[in-house]
Each structure stands twice: as C-alpha cells, then as structure tokens.
Assembly symmetry: C4
Homo-oligomer: 204 residues x 4
C-alpha cells in the first residue's frame, strides 16, 4: 500500500537528518529533566521537621541518581550511534520513535521505584523498562547496520554491544533477586556506575 521509499542519504538531506537528531535530543533532555518532578516535599508539614522529611526522600534521591545516570548513558550511546549513521528511511524513524517511547517511560518507572522501592513489582517494572530500552536500541542499531545505513566499524559495534549487554545483564539479573529482596536488587544496580568511575579515574 505505502510507496517504497529509497533511504535518503545523510549528506543530501542534512537538515532533515539533523532534525531527527534534534528531536531525539529534545526527548532525552526532557525525559532526564522531568526526573526532578519525582522529588517533592509537601508544602505543609505537620508535627515533623523538614530535615527529617528530606531524609525520608533518600529512596527518591537514589531513584533520581540511578535514572539520571541511566538516561545519560543511553543518550551517549544514541549519540555515538547516530554519529555513524549515513542515511535514513521511514523504518529507521519508526524504530527510533519506538525506542524513544521506552526512554520516555523511565521517569514513570523511576517514580514508582522511588515511592515503592521495597516492593518487588517496582523493581521488576524498572528492570523490564530498562531492559526493553537496551533490546530495542540493539535492534535499531543492528537493523540500521544490516541495511547499510550506518558506517560503524566492527570494533565500535562490538563495543556498543558490550556496553548495552552490560546494562541489560544487570537489570535482568536484578529481577529474580528482587523477588527475594528488593533492596539487594538495587545494590546490584550500583554496578552500573563502575565503568563511569573507572572512566573518571583513568588518567587523561
């Protein structure tokens, strides 16, 4: 039914191409910033002092930190992927939108996690959300590559797959752990920060 369109070359459609990137960046930037709305303190506090109420937000703060790091990480991966993309078509656009739909869900999953961190269902929701992001992202990247829309080198593709696999493995592993102990599952997630810390500690 729909007309078969040729993929458009990036260099001939630079403006259209940069719109795809600008739109994606906008979605990432908004999703990461909306995380702050999950933190809040009631305007009127009765019979309790503010420092105590703030301290009770530590689970929300934890969810904020994890989710900020995770969305930031996905953005970097998306960023690297698109720097190697050489053309686009309707299918790439559709997959990219599908990918973004799962990124945008993260503030919701993160809010549930912040409010119900001890409940296995919250951990499972969060882990499933992030695992699907990784899965769909991998599909997007592999599909673009297979169809010749990406000039990513084999080495970098492997590197990306390794990074994505690392994130997915942690979240998938945390699901069974969560069914036993929700807090233990979240400790597992701290492993996400290891590569970042290694990167920061490495001498420039």
């Amino acid at each position: 039914m729909a007309k078969v369109r040729e993929a458009r070359r990036r260099e001939e459609h630079e403006i259209e191409f940069s719109r795809i990137i600008a739109f994606s960046d906008g979605v990432f930037a908004i999703a990461i910033t909306l995380l702050v709305l999950n933190l809040n303190v009631p305007a009127h506090i009765q019979g309790d002092d503010l420092s105590r109420v703030l301290w009770d937000q530590r689970q929300d703060m934890f969810a904020y930190a994890i989710s900020f790091a995770v969305i930031g990480r996905f953005w970097i991966v998306h960023h690297r992927f698109f720097s190697d993309v050489t053309g686009f078509d309707g299918r790439l656009l559709a997959l990219n939108l599908f990918y973004l739909a799962w990124i945008v869900l993260i503030p919701f999953s993160s809010q549930v996690l912040g409010d119900h961190g001890g409940d296995p269902a919250a951990i499972v929701l969060y882990s499933v959300n992030l695992s699907v992001v990784v899965l769909v992202g991998g599909l997007l990247f592999a599909d673009a590559r297979r169809r010749g829309l990406s000039k990513v080198s084999d080495e970098d593709a492997l590197e990306n797959r390794r990074r994505a696999g690392f994130i997915a493995a942690i979240f998938l592993a945390s699901i069974p752990v969560a069914l036993i102990d929700g807090h233990a599952a979240q400790f597992l997630w701290l492993a996400l920060f290891v590569p970042v810390l290694l990167g920061l500690m490495r001498r420039g």
Copy 2:
C-alpha cells in the same frame, strides 16, 4: 493595517528558517514527553498491592502508546513537509502555531482518555482533537503549496494527503462507534499501527 511582507526565501534566511523548525521540534518533543506525566501511581497504597495498581493503569498505558505513536507520526509528516518548504512568511508562521496548539492539546485529551476510557465523551474529545490536527495540518500544507512556498512533488503531496486522510478517517469513524461502545471505538484505533507494522516488516 499591517505592512504586506514578502515571503522570505529559505536560502537567504537559513537561520530564521531553522529556528521555526527547531521551535516546532521542541514543541513536538515536549508534548510527546509530557505524555509520561499521565501515568502515575499514588505514593501510598492502602490495602492493595502495587502489581494490582499497575495493572489498573493499563488503560493509561494504552492511551500513552496510542498518543506517542500519533504524535510521532504527526512529527514525521511535519518533518517531511518542512523538508520541501522553500520560503516562509507571517501567515505560514501563524498557521504553524495554530497547528502546534492542537498538537500540544494531545497530552490533555490523552489524559482524559486514560482516566475515562469507557466514557463516550472522552473518545469524542480525543477523536476531535486528532481530526482537527489532521485538518489544520492539511490546510497548512495546501496553503504553503498553493502560494509557492513548498516544492513538494505532486506525488508526495498525494502521499501525504493519503496518510493524513487515513488517520482522520479512523478518528472520525470512531466517533459514532464511541456513542454506542467506547471500547470498540478504541479497538478501531489499533488500525493506526497497521502501516507502521507493514513498514517494519517490509524487508530493508
């Protein structure tokens, strides 16, 4: 009263032109991301477990998925339209803003739909909102073309009209159905995903 301005050629005013696109993309990106705010789970759940509460959000999730797909689709159409625009004037800007005003309403209509999905009024609100987007979009595109501000080919214009008409037809058709059965009307909307699925299944 207002001075008659000549349309400005795109190539002579590249920065101004790209601002129009950047602003529109920003609005699309924010509107699509605000959809996540329609999903939420109370911080304190009494006498019910979280997985049950999450399950009760399925109507909200459905509204989220439909609205994300719809706004994404409109963005792609807008994107294609502007890639063929060769000039702009105050009227194009005004129509584009008017168009965006209806895009920005979608998160509201979507929230009503998520909370009151069984109510015909919610379906009618949502269908009217999306039909107006298609109508105003068609007006915007046709007007720019008629006044020589778009170099879209006849073939692509027809294609765009066909896509827009397809979306509008589904939503308009769902209004009478909604008055009889709200849930049936929403099943009708699933037809929106057919072209996307066809696009994804088509071999690259």
Copy 3:
C-alpha cells in the same frame, strides 16, 4: 570589578550565537507546551458526567488559547528581532534572560486566570505579566539597537514597536475594565486575534 568585555561579532562566534537562540527557543517552546498542564480533569468524577466536567473547563480552554497565541506572538517578535542582531555581549544576555523570566511566568498567570477568571486580581496579574513582557522586550530591542548590536531597519523597528504597543495597550486597558467587570476585560483581549485573522484572510 568585572572586566569590560567587547561585544562579540555574530559572524565570528556563530556557534555561541546560535546557542543563545537555541536556548531562547527552548524556553519559549517549553513555556508554550507547559500550558497544557493547566488543563485537567479529575480521574474520579462523582455524580456528574464527563461532558459536563469538560464543559466547565471552558474558562481554562480560553486561557489556554489566549496564552498560546500570546506566547506564540512573542516568539515571532523575538525571532524577527534576533534575525537582525549582529553581535552580543553580557548585557544582551542578561536582558534576554530577564525577558525570558517573564515569558516563563505566563503559564502560572494563565493557570490563575483559568481557575479564577472572574476575579479582578487574576486579570490584573495576567495583564501585568504580559505588559512587563512587552516593556522588557522593548527595552531589550531598543538597547541592542542603540548600542549597534542590531541592524534592524528603521521601518522594521517601527513596525515591531507598533505591534508590541498594540499588545501592551490592550492589556493595560483591560486592567481598569477588570476592576469593574472581569469578563468584559477578557472580551477586550479577543482584539489580539484581529491582526492574526487579517493576516490569514489576506490573499497569499
């Protein structure tokens, strides 16, 4: 105390310059999109049907329409102004931020207007907010021009002043009217749409 910096020429600092525009556009796009958050319908409606509740939102819808048109209009004026800017310095940046601070207030004033449209205080708040935007905008434009940072022609500067003055006049005039009759003051605002309608009706 602070070092005197020379104004930076636009053509030598294109990236920095376009960041100022991109940031401003982002703020405009977000402010205009946040207007939708002022529309909402409770998730649980008791003893009343949805179509009635939606109908009761008409004052909120009115505030949405007016504010969308107004922010959109200010964006177009800002857009035209910056297309003639040839350089920037710290003072231009500071004034631009001060201007944006009043743009960002509009969703708040608009929310108060939507919820308390019959109350003179709501009309005064809204009118003052928009008048200050026009005033600060005028200051920003005049200051840039006086210091040689804008190559706007005399004719266009006059046109801009006339447009801005038209908006400011309507809102300032509505303040005394509001103290007598809040609804009459809002009817006055409909005059804002006259130039837009004239523009749309003008043959292309």
Copy 4:
C-alpha cells in the same frame, strides 16, 4: 576493560559536538522553565480572596527569581566554557552529565525553599545544591583545560574562576547564617544580583 578512546577533535566531529551543546542547552532550558511549576494557586479558595493568596506566594516568587537568575548565570558560564572547548571524550561527557544532574536538582531545591523558606534545612539544601554545581563545574572546566581540551586563555579562566568563586562563597557563607536566621541568609543572596546590576548600569 573499556577501550581507551582518543579525544575527538571538535572540528572533525562538529555534529557530535553540537549535539552535546544542544543536549546541555535543552536541559538548562527545561530546568529553568520547570521553575514555574513551583508557583501555584489552588483552584478553589475558601474564605480568602485571591489577591491575598497571591501575596502569600511572595516567598515562592522570591525563590523563582533567585533560581531563574542562578540557572541563567550557570548557563552563561557553561556557554562561555564550551565556546573554548576544542575536543571531547567520554570523560568530558560523563562530567558534563554529572554537572547537569545538579543543575536539574535546582527546581526541587527551589521548591523546598519556596515552601519552607524560614526553615534552616531549606536554606542549607539550596546552598549545598548550588555550591556543588559550582564545585563540579569548576572540576569540569579545570579537567578539560588540564587535558588540553579547552583553549581558554589564562585570563578568561581566571575570570571564570572568580565568578564561580563569588557565587560559591555567597552560598557557603549563607549556611552558618541560615542556622541562626533563615531570612537573613536569603538577604545575603541578593548580593548575587550586584554584578548583573553593575553590568546593566554600565554604559554600552
């Protein structure tokens, strides 16, 4: 474990580089605009008039003004810093994200400040948040410079350090003051506006 990547030169990766800036600008623009959500007036006011309720928002308005000025200021500093950046690598990206995570927290700290301005805990939270922004920003700038990724002149680096130090000093100084008198601490913050006012008063 992770492959050692070379820093990428800005001029060879202009699109990737501008995405980093666009993403950061997006985050700044959204964070500054979300401040408006901290202002709100209940839809139904009982036994009190609207002008009184608006007047009671003055602490929220104060928090809005201070936070808008502060985020705007940080944006200008970030803007200047990146105009001198000549290359980027994973570490710069990670530090920039870490920096942004503290920028995005400001609307939260600002909300707490607006609602609980007289409480020392609110002042301390706000002061700590802003001091960490300055600290992490200083780290980001110094690190990029040390590793040859920034061509900022010694003079400008000094200037930036002086500006950042000025902001940090005010907020750190306000912490002990807050423990004695919350309102006095906030008066201290008004000193932040001194350089802006000096800048505006300076003849063009």
